[in-house]
Each structure stands twice: as C-alpha cells, then as structure tokens.
Amino acid sequence: MPEQGARVHMPRLARYVVRGLEYFTWPLELDDYLELISPLWSTTELRGRIERIHPETDDTVTVDITPGFRWRGHRAGQYLRIGFDIAGKRQWRAYSLSSDAARPDGQITITVKRTADGVVSNWLHGPQATGAIVTLGEVEGEFTLPESTPPRLLFLTAGSGITPVMAMLRGLRRAGELPDTVHLHSARTPTGAIFAAELQALAERDPRYHLELQVTGEQGRLSPADLDDRCPDWRERECYACGPGPMLDALSDHYRAAGLVDRLHVESFEHFVLGDRTGRGGQIRFIRAGTEVECDGVTPILLAGEAAGLDLPYGCRMGICHTCTGRLVEGSVRDLRTGELTHAGTEIRTCVNCPDGPVALEL
C-alpha cells in the first residue's frame, strides 16, 4: 500500500451522515463523489491546492497552499509530508512549513530550494505546479518553541534550514512576543540568502532581534567555536538550529561538551540523527512473512528484514511517513533516534526501531 495522506477528523454527527450516505455510494465512498465537485472536500485524505508559487532567490521558491477543509493547523517549526503527482506518480517529500500558524487567509507555505536532479523541487520550479492538487500528510515534528516563549533565543540556520525558523519568527512577531533574539544565518552568497529582505527589515525595525549573515562563499563556514565571539551569551540562550548534517553534528558535540544538551534543539532535512542510542537487539519474527531474523542493537528492523530478502513496505526510511508500520505483537523495540522504548500492542515504525529482546511483528 502506498503512503496515504492524513486522515480528516470529522465530527461524530457528520461521520454518521457520511456512513448513511455510503449505503448509496457503496462500494465507493462518499468522497469519491464529493471529489467531482472539489478535491479539497475529501473527508478521508487531506488535500491541498497550490495557489501561487513565487521566487525567493534564484534557486528557491515559496509555494502557497490552501489546505482542504478541516485542516487542523500546525505549530511554527513543524513539517508536513506532501504528496505531489508528478508524471502520473505520487512523490512524497517532507517540507518544513515556512508560514506561521495564524495566517488570516488560512494558507500555508513551504519554501523549497532546488536540488540538482531533484524530482519534486524542480517540478515546483516549473510551470505545471501552480493550481495542482497535492495530498497532505500528518503535521509532525518536535522542533517547536515551548508554550511560554524563552526570554532569550539563539537561532542558527544555514541555507534552506531557515524555513522552520522563519515560521517561528513570523509567529513571534504576529503575537508581539519576539524576545531578545540572536540569529546567525549562513548562505553561500549574499543574494542567495532566502528571506534576506524580510529578515533585514525585521532587524531594522525591532531592536530585540539581532541578525548576522555569514556569507560562507567569502567568509567560510561558521564553526561552533565561533559562538563565543559571535554570541558571547550563547550558554544562556535556548538554541534552535537547522542546516546541513555536519553543522548539526558539530553543534551537538559542542553543546554536549558544555553540558548544555537540553538547550539545543535541532531539525535535520537529511537523515535521522542516530545519536548513540542502541537497543539490545534480538530475534525478529515477521508473522505474515513467516520469517525469523536475527538483528543487532543498532540496525533498524526494516533493514534487518530486507537483508533477509523480505519485501517490506517503506517510504521515507527516516521515521516520518508511517508507511513502514507494522503491529508489534510481542516484545519491545527501541527508537534509535530518541532511545524511547515501545511495548507490544501498538503499531511501530520499522525504519527507526530496533528490537530490544525477541519481538514478533504483524508484517
């Protein structure tokens, strides 16, 4: 089964009405007929329409999307998986939302940098994308500000890693809650910096917001050691960082060495950060396939199953799309990203979990 969009949450009464009407539409769903009027009226899978696409820089566009009815909103910093129909085929990708949650027009935006040979990012730079219907997945991600805004913030961003932080800045400004903030943003060229004008304008207007642009093509990369110089009170600030993997890895090491891991919050576009979590490993029994596989404490169940020749479902392979889920019937598994333990009786994602002792899976 291919990856699906987010389920639409309907009030109970509406659900009964739909169920009743489906005596007429069976074996189709009511949705299948509502779709003839507007694809955004789907009551099963959340959809959106691309309204506008406008350039931010030479290789980056912002995409305005009207989400289908009963969109439940997001928190600034979160991402969304979106399914794009390109050359007849649905392609799922994750994008951080660059809009804050409280836009009066109800639209959401993503800001996408062109990737060489990239299927989705290049399509979004082309003419066919405007007006297209897309499928929206579940809003996800822990890269968000806490309920009460920290008194001092540090944003460290590089390249397209600015997108979730832009959403935070927009949200804070709209709510009039922007605290004392230092923002160190890296871009290869001065004109290549996404949202440069908007950030600059904010810095000029609001004395609480201090922006420093690092042009890496000329000044080189920022290293964590530069923090003492660029932001001397970094230890007292809640830090939100988003950028390439090596930058985030170096930052994590730096904060760990300073004993300040709790202050650092990171978002990666590339892969899941494995950290140093391990499970105990153990025997995996794939019930439907009728196969047993031995798995060590650092290999995700998905990989162990594939190594044994099984054809298991997967999508993102990094824990965000839920395509790979299977019911854990016996035993416990450990999430290799967070170290969290999950016990039998629920659905688990095989791509990020590793057995903690012998397990049995409904797959």
Binding site: Y23, P27, L36, D85, G88, R90
Partner: protein, 384 residues
C-alpha cells in the same frame, strides 16, 4: 477418452533459443511502455473513473422518475453502461495492479473494491494468480470452463454436461454470482482440501457484498424514488445488473474459449521458461476486434492477448502495443488470435453446445499470423 495431444502446438517447432529470443522481444515491449508511463496515463484512468461516477449519478437521477417509461429506459441504459465501465475498464484493471505505479492509494489494487459480488481479495487470488499464471493448462487453470462446463474436448464427458446449454444462459445472466462462487474454489471444497476458516471468511465476505448490493440497488435507491417509483426503480436496477452481467460474460468467454485458442497439458508446461510462458499466453488467448468505444467498454479485454502477455500493464496501452505483438507473430510465424465479436462469441456458443454431448475434437487452428495489407505497423509505441 480423447488422446492427450489432439493438435500440435506451434511451440513444438521452436527451439529453446528461439523461444527465449521471442521472450526477450516481449520483455522489451513491456519495459518500453513502463518507462514511458506518465501524466497522460494517469489522466486517462482518472478521467474514466470520473466518467463512471458522473454516469452513475446521472442514471440514478433519471431513475428517480423511473415510473415513466422513457426515464426507465434511459436511466437503465445509462446505469448499465456505468456498471460496465466500473467492472471492466476500472475494477478489473485496477485490481490487476495496472495503476499501482501511480502510488495513489485510492487507485490501487490493495484498496480497490468493485460493484460485483466477488470480494476483491478472493478474486485477486483466483484470477490474478491462478488463472493468469496457469492460463489454459488443463487441470490447473480453473477458469477453463469454470469447473462447471465442458469447454475443451480433452475434458472427460459426464451426463451433467447435457444441462450445460441451460446453465450457460443462467451463468450469463447472473455472472457476478457465478464468479463469486467460483472464487471460493469449489473443487477444493469438494475434495476437502480447502481451509475451513478461510472458506468461512470468504463466504462471509460474499455475504457482506451481497447484502450491500441488495440494500443499494433493491432498497435504498428504489426508496428514493418514492412509493410509486419503488418497483420500477428496482426493476431498472435489476435490469442494469443483468446487462452488466451478460456483457462481462460475453467478453470474458471470448477471451479463451474461441476455436482459435490452444490448451496445454501439465507435462507440456512442466519446466516452462519465461519465453515459453509468453508463448502460452499468446496461444491461449483470443482478441476481439472493435472500435475504441468497444475496447473501453470491454475493459480493453478485446486485447486479451496483450492483456495476458502483460497483465499489469495499463489497459490503455494495449491497443498501442498490438501492432508490435502482431509483428512478432508474423516474423516468427506464430498465430495471433483475433476476430469479430459476433464470430468469436458464435464459436464459443457452438463449442458449449457441441461439448454438452460426448466426443468432440479441437477446432482447426488458423496458423501463422498474416497481416491484412492495410494493417502495417505505423503507430509509434510511445504516443498515447
């Protein structure tokens, strides 16, 4: 008891190398089409699906006035066509996985269900797996006569076949129910080899589908037409189901039972290679000639040969690859079974009548394909 080899299959004169070379040519056609699937194909199936839904809505609206005769006639015809589209060009082909490449969970063989008595799960096993894998192998392809008909002279005669001309007509009228029961694997039930839990599950699934169909076509929609339109809407829906059943019966019986097709023994196909598999599909299926509208309404099963070569290829591409398949047949002196609808159906009915009685011989085969002079390979493969 008739002898095992009543007629020689063209396979017998081909060397293993030739068979593999032909197989590679078929593989190339498959790969070329799959590499070129794109927006146009997706738009095609989405358009047909939308068309079915619009026709269904239209017909149901017209049938609100079914107590007036013209409305009854028009509504019934439109509903019949909608149901035909839904079963043939959409249901059958989606359940084959022809559109799975789109990765749209709504148009996917894993999630699709169709407006017929047979539950998708059981049908996918008996049709996609059993029939398409063992096509025309006597004793293994359970669609060869559907276990109730003598359709091949190799099948031993039994007095019950005297009734075959009668239940043939009943099967045509209630085809969907015949298919549903057939999918249960009656032979395995009789032999006591069927898993009872599975049987119970499948019977329950058929029961559920029957119930929903009865509620929809014989209670809910008739009730919408009000007390004075109840009965007429009910008869209209019944007639539409009948039209759909007879049509799918006719198309499907023309797929493997016309005179031109070959059947195979288990020994002949024991250690079959990929190339030989293609050739068995080629020899075991028969096409129906027709207009583009005919092909859409028959789920492109008028291209039964192409469908059997590539069951998971989007049906809209069969017409396009047909010239290439014919060209392979011509070059390797192989038959390409095809004929007009009336002719194909006629030979099938003649066989059903003849084989109700003992004896019978396989019909003479047409021999290698010879293209009519105006049938040159002109259409490029990629253009949709």
């Amino acid at each position: 008891m008739p002898s095992e080899s009543m007629i020689e299959s063209p396979l017998a004169r081909l060397s293993p190398e030739e068979i593999e070379a032909i197989g590679a040519e078929f593989d190339a056609i498959h790969d070329e089409v799959f590499a070129s699937l794109g927006d146009k194909d997706a738009t095609y199936i989405r358009t047909v699906i939308a068309l079915h839904r619009q026709l269904a809505l239209l017909s149901r609206a017209i049938l609100l006035g079914s107590r007036y005769r013209p409305a009854w006639l028009l509504g019934t015809s439109v509903l019949g066509i909608a149901k035909i589209l839904e079963n043939m060009e959409i249901g059958h082909n989606v359940l084959h996985g022809q559109w799975d490449w789109m990765a749209d969970p709504k148009i996917n063989s894993a999630t699709w269900d169709w407006d017929t008595a047979s539950p998708a799960e059981a049908w996918k096993h008996s049709h996609n797996y059993v029939h398409h894998t063992f096509t025309n192998i006597r004793g293994k392809d359970k669609d060869l006569g559907y276990e109730i008909m003598r359709i091949d002279p190799h099948q031993p005669w039994h007095p019950v076949y005297l009734l075959q001309p009668v239940y043939n007509l009943l099967l045509a009228a209630f085809f969907e129910w015949g298919v549903a029961v057939h999918d249960l694997d009656v032979e395995a039930i009789r032999a006591g080899t069927k898993d009872m839990d599975e049987l119970r599950r499948q019977v329950r699934a058929i029961g559920h589908k029957a119930w929903r169909q009865v509620i929809k076509d014989y209670v809910a929609f008739p009730a919408l037409s009000g007390p004075r339109g109840f009965k007429t809407t009910l008869t209209a829906n019944f007639t539409a189901n009948l039209i759909r059943n007879v049509w799918s019966y006719a198309i499907i019986f023309c797929g493997h039972f016309p005179d031109q097709t070959y059947t195979f023994s288990e020994e002949e196909t024991a250690e079959e290679t990929r190339g030989a598999f293609y050739l068995r599909q080629l020899l075991g299926a028969a096409n129906i000639e027709g207009s583009p509208i005919f092909h859409v309404l028959s789920g492109n099963l008028g291209y039964q040969v192409e469908h059997h070569l590539f069951p998971d290829m989007p049906s809209s591409r069969y017409g396009q690859i047909a010239p290439k398949v014919k060209e392979i047949c011509e070059r390797h002196r192989l038959p390409y079974n095809t004929g007009r609808f009336s002719h194909q159906l006629g030979t099938v009915q003649r066989t059903i009548l003849r084989l109700a009685f003992p004896g019978g011989r396989p019909a003479p085969k047409p021999g290698p394909y010879v293209p009519p002079s105006d049938d040159r390979v002109t259409a490029p493969l990629i253009a949709v």
